[in-house]
Assembly symmetry: C2
Homo-oligomer: 568 residues x 2
C-alpha cells in the first residue's frame, strides 16, 4: 500500500524555526505552564536578572515591584531596579532576542541562558498582544543617559520592533520594565509569586524588595545584611573540566597565533611549563596555528590534562551566601528550636567545574510545612541564591536528600519530621535540567556534596535531640533521687535511732555528679569526624555513586591555604 502516498511533502512541510518561534510553540519549556506558575516564573526571571546586573556592578540591589490587577487573570507588572541599566542599543536584544545575553561567560550568575527576559516579553505578547515598555538609565562615560522605549517582539525574526522612543531625564541608573499578562494568577500559595519573593530573601539578605500586591498592600522586605556583595569574577575554564570539543571551539575563536599561547590564555592553571610538559608527552607542536589542530590532537591533550596534577580551579569566582547569613535568614523566618548551617569547601563536578554546596537545617518552631495540623518536612532548593520552586522530583537536591538514611540520625523518616532543609548550590555553571531552570542535574559529585553537607547537619541535629532527651532523663532521675533518698535517709535515721542529718546540699551535689557520670557516656558517645567520613563514604558506596577516579578531586595538587578556603 501507500506506494503513491509519500508522507512528507518536503518543500511544503519542512520548516526552520527561530528560537522565538520554537519557544512560542513550546512555552512550557520556559516554565510557563499553569496560571500561578507562569506568573511566578515571570517574577523569577525579572528578579534574578536585576540581582545579577546589580551585583556585577557592585550595587546593593533595591527592587520595586508593583502588580496591578486589570481584570480577572489580567495584570500589569511594573518591575524597577537600581542596577547599571542597559545601553539603548542593547535593550531590544536583551528583551526580544532569545539565546542572546551577557550570561554566557564563565561567571557566577543567576541567569545563564539568555532566555529569561525575552521569555517574559514573549508571554506578555502572546497573552495580551501589548508591547513592552522599558525605561533604561545607564552610564555613558560620565554621563547618565535615559531612554524610554515601547517595542514588540518579532517572533519570526527573533528580534524587537521599535514602536516608540523618547529621551528620559535620568537621575540614577536602573531599568524599569512594564509588561501586561493575561491567563496568569497571583497566589499566596507555596508556588506563588509572594512565596517566591519571601524565599528569595533568605538567599539574598543583602537585597531589598518592595512589593505592592494587587490589593494595594505594600510589603517591604528589608535588607537583613548591609554587606556589599562581593563581585563575582569571570574564571577561565580549568583543564580538568575541558573536553576535546571545548579545545576545538577555543581554537576556532581565539585571537592567539599559536596553540601554546591559546592554551595559556584560555584556561586557568595553565602555565608555559605545563604546555611544554604536554608537548613532550604528546609530541604535538605547540607552535602550530590554533586552526590547524586536529580533534585527535585535542583528545591527546585532554588525555594529558586528565593524567596531570593541577591546582584546584580558582574559586574567587564563587560567592557563597555564607553559613552565618543562612543561619540568620532561617532564624528570622522559621523561629526554630534548633538550627545548624554549613558552607562546604569548593569542589568540582565534570572534572573541572567548581561549585560550593551550602546547607541549613532548622528543626522545631515554624520549621517544615503545616499539613492538616501536622508539621512535615520542607525542602528549600536554591541555585546561585535563587529559589527553585518547581520540578523538585528530578533535582539533584531532592535526590540527595531522599537518598540519606535518616534513621541513622534518629529520625523516623524525612517526610514526617518538622524540618526545613535548605540547600544552595553555587557555581559558574549550574547544570540545569531544563530551560525553565527549576531543577539541577543529578551529577554524581553534586549529589555527593549535598549528601555530605546534609549528613553533617543531620549529625548535629541528632546531638541536639540526644542531649534534649538526656536532659529530660536527667531531670527524671534527679527527681527519683530527690524523692526517694530523703525517705531512705529518714528511715535509716529512724532505724539507727539517730537524728536526720542535713543532707539537702550534699544530695544536690551528688545527684548532679552522679547523673553527669551516668549520662555523660551517652552524651559523649559521638562518632569521631573520621568515622563519620567513613560512614558517609560507605553510604555513598551503597548508593552506587562511585566517583570516577579521573574526575575526583583527589587528583589536584595541594594549594596554598589562602586559596579556595571558605568559612565552614
Amino acid at each position: 500500500m501507500a506506494e503513491q502516498q509519500i508522507g512528507i511533502d518536503w518543500d511544503e512541510d519542512f520548516d526552520r524555526l527561530t528560537p522565538s518561534q520554537f519557544f512560542r510553540k513550546n512555552k512550557q519549556m520556559l516554565g510557563f505552564t499553569g496560571k500561578i506558575r507562569s506568573l511566578t516564573i515571570v517574577f523569577h526571571e525579572l528578579i534574578t536578572n536585576s540581582f545579577d546586573a546589580c551585583e556585577e556592578a557592585g550595587i546593593l540591589p533595591d527592587i520595586d515591584i508593583e502588580l496591578m490587577r486589570v481584570d480577572k487573570e489580567h495584570y500589569i507588572l511594573r518591575h524597577k531596579d537600581n542596577g547599571p541599566g542597559i545601553p539603548e542599543d542593547y535593550v531590544m536584544q536583551v528583551y526580544c532576542m532569545m539565546f542572546a545575553g551577557s550570561k554566557f561567560r564563565n561567571i557566577q550568575s543567576r541567569g545563564q541562558q539568555g532566555l529569561g527576559c525575552s521569555g517574559c516579553v514573549l508571554l506578555s505578547q502572546m497573552t495580551t498582544g501589548k508591547p513592552a515598555k522599558v525605561i533604561s538609565c545607564y552610564k555613558e562615560g560620565d554621563e547618565i543617559k535615559g531612554v524610554k522605549m515601547k517595542f514588540q517582539m518579532d517572533v519570526e525574526n527573533n528580534r524587537g520592533i521599535l514602536m516608540e522612543r523618547e529621551d528620559y531625564p535620568a537621575e540614577s541608573t536602573g531599568v524599569c520594565i512594564e509588561l501586561q499578562f493575561k491567563d496568569v494568577s497571583y497566589s499566596m500559595a507555596e508556588q506563588g509569586a509572594f512565596e517566591y519573593i519571601r524565599r528569595t530573601m533568605i538567599g539574598n539578605p543583602h537585597a531589598q524588595i518592595t512589593f505592592r500586591d494587587p490589593t494595594g498592600h505594600k510589603y517591604i522586605f528589608k535588607r537583613a545584611a548591609d554587606i556589599v556583595p562581593v563581585q563575582p569574577k569571570e574564571v577561565l575554564p580549568h583543564p580538568k573540566g575541558v573536553s576535546a570539543d571545548d579545545l576545538m571551539t577555543m581554537a576556532k575563536n581565539t585571537d592567539k597565533r599559536r596553540y601554546k599561547s591559546m592554551l595559556t590564555a584560555s584556561m586557568s592553571r595553565m602555565s608555559n611549563k605545563r604546555v611544554d610538559e604536554i608537548a613532550e608527552m604528546t609530541g604535538i607542536d605547540m607552535n602550530k596555528r590554533p586552526k590547524d589542530i586536529t580533534f585527535a590532537e585535542a583528545e591527546a591533550i585532554v588525555h594529558c590534562f586528565k593524567k596531570m596534577k593541577f591546582m584546584a580551579p580558582p574559586t574567587d569566582g564563587l560567592i557563597p551566601i555564607g553559613s552565618d547569613q543562612i543561619e540568620k535568614g532561617m532564624k528570622q523566618i522559621l523561629q526554630p528550636e534548633f538550627v545548624t548551617t554549613i558552607t562546604r569547601k569548593p569542589v568540582t563536578y565534570a572534572g573541572g567545574v567548581s561549585f560550593i554546596i551550602e546547607a541549613g537545617l532548622a528543626y522545631g518552631g515554624n520549621s517544615g510545612r503545616k499539613v492538616n495540623e501536622q508539621r512535615k518536612s520542607e525542602i528549600m532548593r536554591f541555585a546561585n541564591r535563587v529559589p527553585l520552586t518547581f520540578d523538585a522530583g528530578s533535582c539533584a537536591i531532592t535526590e540527595a536528600l531522599k537518598s540519606i538514611d535518616w534513621k541513622r540520625y534518629g529520625l523516623k523518616d524525612l517526610d514526617n519530621t518538622p524540618l526545613t532543609l535548605f540547600v544552595n548550590i553555587i557555581s559558574t555553571q549550574v547544570p540545569y535540567l531544563s530551560t525553565g531552570k527549576q531543577s539541577v542535574s543529578p551529577e554524581p559529585e553534586i549529589v555527593q556534596e549535598i549528601r555530605q553537607a546534609t549528613m553533617k547537619l543531620a549529625r548535629q541535629l541528632q546531638k541536639h535531640i540526644r542531649s534534649k532527651r538526656a536532659a529530660k532523663e536527667k531531670e527524671k532521675r534527679s527527681k527519683v533521687f530527690e524523692e526517694y533518698v530523703p525517705v531512705i535517709i529518714e528511715e535509716a535515721a529512724k532505724l539507727g535511732e539517730t537524728g536526720v542529718p542535713e543532707y539537702q546540699e550534699v544530695l544536690a551535689k551528688v545527684t548532679k555528679r552522679a547523673l553527669a557520670e551516668l549520662l555523660g557516656e551517652k552524651v559523649e558517645e559521638e562518632v569521631e569526624e573520621e568515622e563519620l567520613d567513613a560512614i558517609i563514604m560507605e553510604e555513598f558506596d551503597e548508593m552506587g555513586y562511585a566517583v570516577d577516579e579521573e574526575h575526583s578531586n583527589l587528583n589536584f595538587e595541594e594549594e596554598d591555604d589562602e586559596e579556595g578556603e571558605f568559612e565552614e
Copy 2:
C-alpha cells in the same frame, strides 16, 4: 564602591548564540546527562524518527541497529530503517540544523521539536570530532535515488558542512546513519538502551527491530501484529484550543485575502455560518484583510469561540495502540496472573487539543520490578507510543497514578504491589516539559483522564482479587462442610440407632449451592458504573482538579456516533 567598575562590557560580553551553540553549552537539555542515559537518548531519537518516517509513508517499520564497541566508553552506532528516505537537499538540514524539521505540523508524531537527530549528531561531534555518515535512498518521481554523504555540523552557523558525497546504488528506500560516540555506556539496566528497545516494542507491536549488541549477540524483536499502521493525518486546530496570539500568527502567515476565508481554512469545525455568527456577535468586518486584524479583535473572536458550541475536534488524526494490542504486549512480556487494559475516548486539554489516554494494568507473574527478591510496582510511561525513561518525578502520568487512593481498591499502597502500570498518551501536541521529551506537563485534563482510566482498571483488579479471595474462602468452607457433616451424620445415625445413609452425593450438591448463596452476595457486591463515576469525580474534587468549565468537554455539541469513537 564600584562606581568606576561597570560589570558588563556590552560590546565584549554580549553574545548571540545559534540554537546549536546554545545546546552545545546545554546538552543536558537535550537529555544528554550521564553515560548510560546519553546513549539511551540517542537510541530514542533515532528510533522515534524512523518510526515517524515509516508511518507517515504507510510502511511497516523494520529497523536494524548495530552497536559496536571501539574502546571503553567508545562506540560506533549504525542505525538503518526502511522508511521513505530523505531527499538529498534535506539530509544535512535534518541532521545538522536545530529547530528545523517536518514535525511542526499539527500531526501525531513521536518527535515534534526538530531537535532529536541534530542533537545526536552534535553529541557525536562533541565527543569524537568524527563526521556523520549517512546513506539516504528516496523516491524522486518513479525513480529511487541514493546518496552517500559525510558531513559535520557547523555549530556557529547551525548548519551542516559537506565533506564527501557520492551516488549510492539504491534498491529500496530508507536511511542509514552511522555515528560515533565517546563517554557513553551501553547497559542492560532499566534506563539503558536495551530496556528502551524492549519497552518500545510494547508500544509498537507493528514494528520490527533487529539489534546487534556490542558483544555481537543479535536480538530480533519480531513484529507481534502485522497490522498496517493507520496513517496519522494533519488536523487543523480546533477553535476551542486557539488563542488570540494563534489567530494573529495565522493572519500573518495565511495566503487568504479575507479574514473570513482565513478562519474557515485554518481551523477545524469552522464553517461560513459560524464566521457569520461571530461577525454578528463581535461586529468585526470579516471581509478585512487578515493583516489588518488587531489583537483586541482577535481576543473578541476567541471570546466568541469560548462561548459557542462546536463539534469536538476531529480525532481521525489520533491513532491509539488499541487495548487489544496493549494486552497482547503486556501478556507477552510480563506473563501476568491478571491483565486489564483500556483505550479511552478522545478528549481535549487546553480547550481544544485532542488526546487519548490508553492504560494497562498487569498483576502477578512477572509484573512489577524485582527489588531484593520482592516485587514492587513499576510504571511504564509512554507518549505517542514512545517509552519515557527519565524525569518521572514531574510527569503527569506519575502525578496521576500517585494521586489515586489505592486503598480504595484493596491494595495496601502503590509501591509494594507486584503491578505493572502502562499509560500511553496520544496527541498531535504532547505538552512535554522539556526539550529532552521525557515527561508530560501535568495539565489538569490529562491528569484527570489518566486517573479515570487507571481507576477503572484498578476496579477490575479489585474484582479479580476479591473473586480470588472468595474462591479460596469457598474452598475452605467446602472443606469444613465435607469434614464435619459426615461426622455429624454418623454420630446422628448412632444416636438414632439407624444405619448411615448415602450422603456423599447430596452433600456435594448442598455445599455447592449453599456456598454459592453464601458467597454470591460478596462477589456481586460491585459498584455500579454510575456510582464508580461518582467516586471518581469525588476523588477528583478532593485533589483540587477542578476543570475549567469553559475548557471542559461539556461544551461540545453532540456528534455523530461514528466520529471519535474508539474501542474501549
